[in-house]
């Protein structure tokens, strides 16, 4: 019986190839899309949840109020202060400290240079806290002293291949510095403060009893097992900070907050720790995924039910020859399960094909665990059985007692889903169009200076030291120029490519006085240093004035934003700039105004800049090479900087300017890609939805259509007949979708400080696409209706 029912189901499917093709492909696409969306949401949802006993751990956060009255949050807390409070407050049962350090330079292992860019100094309990799984190394002797170093599998493979590196010594120049004590499996990507290398935080930093003058900051986590103690611990820390000013490095009042570890990823407005996704967005994406699945499921059910409705006579005959309601239910259920099962198989194959591409597009990859896979399969089977049971049950009862009321209720539900999916469809189509254009215009935005085929090198010196060591930049530039393949170079004391205006990139806002000693205008601008040839070599257009000669030591150049902000009414040329409180003769004079240059991604507001022309003590070197000679030139410059590293400076770092700019726009690229992907899927599901509903409508109107045909209706009349009932749907969903997409596009554009115009011309194109989405299935059904011979619906005998 079962076999017979399955065979019958396949026969029915063969008979209605187009309908079932659309239903099964549409459902498969939605299943795959929903699984991918779910994995995307789970990635963010599970951020930091892989730590052990995560509900008991809290991160220390500082907040204060800026002079402008805005709340400022910082995720870094004072290490020494942390040591004191941990000992003082008994409710704190454990702690983890992480401190990013970039001072490990000039390292080598067995003569091979090792670049460590993201080392983190931590307390010895971090491996346990992060539930690290070790491939090599003894668990009891991982981070035992200051020379212990644990590395990730990825890092190990990069430098040591398949070899077990445990026991290898890492040298700083010729002195032993570290011994590798363990290799751990790569940490999940959805974990805060992921690093490839961890060493032990010097216990001296946290074991002080008296606060020290120089307060290092780091990420502090406290384990407070009893949630009721959290507020009392917060109060106790705040009280300690209030009573001991020396525990913080600021005169401002700072308040401490304890954030649950599983929530820290979504806490925004944090200095140096911006979330990559907010929780509302995750909910929204999840909601869309669920709606997509629901819509596809309903469309699938509609198409299957339609095929059953067309076989009403067959069921009536079966009933008349003795079939019971339950026999019909079993037959319908078997058919439904057969169709759905094919969709599941198809979606499984599709998932295997597209999962890697999807994860590459969104920039992460999480291997689904067996449990997750089992849940996904279980979820699909659950949906299959529930929907099949309800559909077959509903229809097998309907065969016997079908009422108009039931039809009406169902029609309202189906129509509501259709409205929702089309509105979301238009939202995504227009959003994809608008933000793609916006994104395209942002990434192709003229950055204002020449940076093609350019590497930037910087040498490192002790920050904050009273006597920082500098290398003679002029001598270094001469040597760089002499390297074969180098076209030209420039030097600055600020980074020409950075996503943060901070001390590390040498941008700091400075209080200045513009104008004479008397009636000087108090301003704040970013003072940076470079040599005068920077403007000519990097092609920064001179808007007014002229570049000063080499003999003029007090000349400065300002940018367009400086003029717009501080000297719009009159030309700034010739005006003086001085630091407040400087002596009578100590001033700079503005000699030229240059165009703005985006040394940072367009997310950051353009800043007023004052270029001080200081040829010496420049740490950042921009080197433009001949096309195709990047690696050759890079090797030679590496050798040069390696060589000078031994002469008083600490080491060097390098980056590719173009690659850095591309990296800055990665989140935007992911949003655009996801939106386009959603738009495609939702279009496919919408076409499927309209096809299903219009097929049902067409089936119910067959007699009407036949009569109209007999009365002389042509194809266009039948098409119009079906189309006119979708005019309202088209207009309402178009409007709702447009409003939603306009809002979201504005949100997307607000991510950029650079004004991005709303490309209105995209909208008519999107309206046409939406129209096609509605029109295509209606056209198919109208053709079918038109070709149907009317006599079979009008016969009397």
């Amino acid at each position: 019986m079962l076999f017979q029912n399955i065979r019958f189901a396949l026969k029915m499917m063969k008979k209605n190839r187009i309908s079932f093709g659309i239903a099964i492909i549409g459902l498969s696409l939605s299943l795959v899309a929903s699984i991918l969306i779910l994995s995307y949401c789970l990635f963010y949802w599970n951020f930091d949840k892989s730590v052990s006993s995560q509900s008991e751990w809290y991160r220390l956060r500082l907040s204060s109020v800026s002079s402008e009255g805005e709340a400022v949050h910082e995720s870094g807390f004072y290490l020494q202060t942390a040591g004191i409070i941990i000992r003082e407050i008994p409710q704190i049962k454990d702690f983890v400290i992480m401190h990013n350090s970039f001072l490990d330079i000039n390292l080598n292992c067995e003569g091979k240079r090792i670049a460590i860019n993201d080392k983190c100094s931590v307390t010895s309990n971090l491996p346990e806290h992060y539930k690290m799984r070790f491939i090599y190394g003894n668990k009891d002797s991982l981070l035992v002293d200051n020379s212990s170093l644990i590395i990730s599998k990825r890092f190990s493979e990069r430098y040591f291949g398949d070899e077990n590196p445990v026991g290898k010594q890492i040298m700083v120049r010729d002195r032993p510095r570290y011994v590798i004590t363990g290799v751990f499996e790569d940490l999940p990507q959805n974990l805060h403060l992921r690093a490839d290398i961890y060493d032990l935080l010097p216990t001296s930093l946290t074991s002080v009893t008296e606060p020290q003058e120089y307060l290092l900051r780091g990420h502090i986590r406290l384990r407070i097992p009893n949630p009721k103690d959290v507020s009392s611990v917060e109060s106790a820390i705040n009280k300690m900070l209030a009573n001991n000013a020396e525990l913080s490095d600021s005169q401002e009042k700072k308040t401490v907050h304890l954030d649950q570890i599983r929530r820290i990823h979504f806490i925004g407005n944090l200095k140096e720790d911006e979330p990559t996704m907010n929780s509302m967005s995750v909910y929204a994406v999840m909601g869309i995924g669920a709606l997509l699945l629901l819509a596809a499921l309903l469309n699938f059910i509609n198409i299957v039910i339609l095929s059953w409705q067309q076989r009403r006579d067959e069921f009536a005959i079966r009933r008349s020859v003795g079939s019971l309601q339950q026999d019909i239910f079993v037959q319908l259920f078997t058919e439904y399960v057969s169709y759905f099962f094919i969709a599941i198989l198809l979606s499984g194959s599709l998932y295997l094909l597209v999962a890697k591409v999807f994860h590459k597009l969104v920039g992460f990859y999480t291997n689904p665990t067996l449990l997750q896979e089992a849940f996904a399969i279980l979820g699909m089977l659950l949906i299959l059985f529930i929907s099949g049971f309800l559909s077959a049950g509903h229809f097998s009862r309907g065969v016997i007692s079908n009422t108009d009321d039931r039809h009406k209720k169902r029609a309202i539900g189906v129509k509501s889903i259709l409205y929702a999916e089309l509105a979301i469809g238009f939202l995504f189509i227009s959003l994809a169009g608008v933000i793609s254009i916006g994104y395209y215009s942002v990434i192709n935005h003229e950055i204002g200076f020449e940076a093609n085929n350019t590497l930037q090198y910087r040498y490192l010196t002790m920050v904050g030291s009273k006597n920082p060591m500098f290398y003679d930049s002029n001598a270094l530039r001469d040597r760089i120029r002499a390297i074969p393949g180098v076209l030209y170079e420039t030097a600055t004391n600020f980074s020409v490519v950075t996503d943060r205006l901070d001390m590390d990139s040498r941008y700091s806002e400075t209080a200045l006085e513009l104008g004479g000693v008397k009636n000087a205008q108090q301003i704040e601008a970013y003072v940076v240093g470079t040599s005068v040839d920077f403007f000519t070599k990097r092609k920064l257009p001179i808007l007014s004035g002229a570049l000063p000669g080499a003999d003029k030591s007090n000349a400065v150049i300002v940018n367009q934003t400086f003029v717009n902000r501080f000297s719009q009414a009159e030309s700034p040329l010739g005006k003086t700039i001085r630091t407040p409180g400087s002596a009578e003769g100590e001033f700079y004079q503005i000699d030229a105004v240059v165009n703005d240059a985006w040394f940072f991604p367009t997310h950051i507001q353009m800043i007023p800049m004052v270029y001080v022309l200081t040829p010496g003590q420049l740490q950042f070197f921009q080197i433009t090479y001949e096309a195709g000679k990047k690696y050759e030139v890079q090797g030679r410059i590496d050798d040069l900087f390696e060589e000078i590293s031994g002469r008083g400076i600490l080491g060097f770092r390098s980056l590719d300017v173009t690659e850095e700019f591309i990296r800055y726009y990665q989140p935007d690229r992911i949003y655009v890609t996801l939106t386009i992907l959603f738009a495609f899927i939702i279009c496919a599901v919408s076409i499927m939805g309209i096809y299903a509903v219009s097929s049902l409508q067409f089936y119910r109107q067959l007699k009407d259509i036949a009569i109209r045909k007999v009365c002389g209706a042509e194809f266009s009349h039948i098409l119009f007949l079906l189309l006119k009932s979708y005019v309202c749907l088209f207009c309402v969903t178009g409007l709702a979708g447009f409003l939603g997409s306009y809002y979201l596009a504005q949100e997307f554009f607000a991510r950029f400080a650079l004004p991005v115009g709303y490309p209105w011309w995209v909208l008519p194109i999107c309206v046409i696409i939406l129209f096609l989405v509605v029109f295509l299935p209606l056209y198919l059904n109208s053709r079918k209706a038109w070709k149907t011979n009317p006599i079979q619906y009008l016969q009397s005998e």
């Binding site: 007699k703 036949a706 002389g712 209706a713 042509e714 006599i791 016969q795 005998e797």
Partner: protein, 222 residues
């Protein structure tokens, strides 16, 4: 007006062939009233549907008003039907969601007649068929006889030369049946050609010519 020669109609499924009409030869003059009679399954309706350009013959020729219909495209057949033929069915086949007025108006809309002209024509027809008081009613609010009169009104509103009636009295009582037949007689006297399928000898008697079909063949022409 109608000339049929060696016309056959065979219905085919994967395994079975059923011959509905077999080598028919027939001509119907303009202005004549013809009744097609015969038992169930003899091919009456098949012939009527071919005459009405709603179905295609398998073999043979069908010339309507001098036009060979076999070679026409679907669109051309639709247009020829719209301009030449009117239908009346046993089950009336009115659209339930449209009022009497709108049902009658339908063919005129498809012909592109202006609203004013439509109104005028409809009033003329419904007055002549005495259903003007039911103009705003819906089909389900009418009796069988009234529904059939509406169907006739819809059929003649475009002034077709040929009226094809498929058992027009089949769902009516004798009084209403006679009323409908007298309408057909009036239409015929105005010069319209009428081809009517019927079982009933009484109603076949209204026709000038009776064609008896049996197993897809013409067995008698009277």
């Amino acid at each position: 007006m109608i000339s049929i020669s060696d016309l056959s109609k065979v219905y085919r499924t994967d395994t079975v062939e059923t011959t509905a009409l077999e080598i028919l030869n027939l001509s119907i003059n303009k202005g004549s009233f013809v009744a097609i009679k015969g038992p169930s399954g003899c091919g009456k309706s098949s012939l009527l549907h071919i005459l009405g350009l709603m179905d295609l013959q398998t073999k043979g020729s069908y010339i309507l008003n001098g036009i060979e219909t076999q070679s026409l495209s679907i669109n051309e057949r639709d247009r020829l039907r719209r301009s030449t033929i009117g239908f009346v069915f046993q089950k009336f086949n009115l659209i339930d969601s449209l009022s009497v007025f709108e049902n009658i108006e339908l063919p005129l809309i498809y012909m592109g007649v202006s609203p004013d002209n439509r109104k005028e024509k409809i009033h003329k027809v419904i007055d002549s068929l005495e259903i003007s008081h039911r103009m705003n009613h819906y089909p389900y609010q009418l009796s069988g006889g009234q529904q059939q009169r509406v169907a006739v009104a819809r059929c003649i509103i475009t002034n077709p030369e040929l009226i094809l009636a498929d058992e027009p009295t089949g769902n009516l009582d004798s009084l209403n049946g006679q009323q409908v037949m007298s309408i057909f007689q009036d239409l015929n006297s105005e010069g319209r050609t009428i081809v009517m399928v019927t079982h009933d000898d009484k109603y076949a008697g209204y026709a000038q010519k009776i064609i008896n079909l049996y197993d897809g063949r013409i067995v008698q022409e009277a």
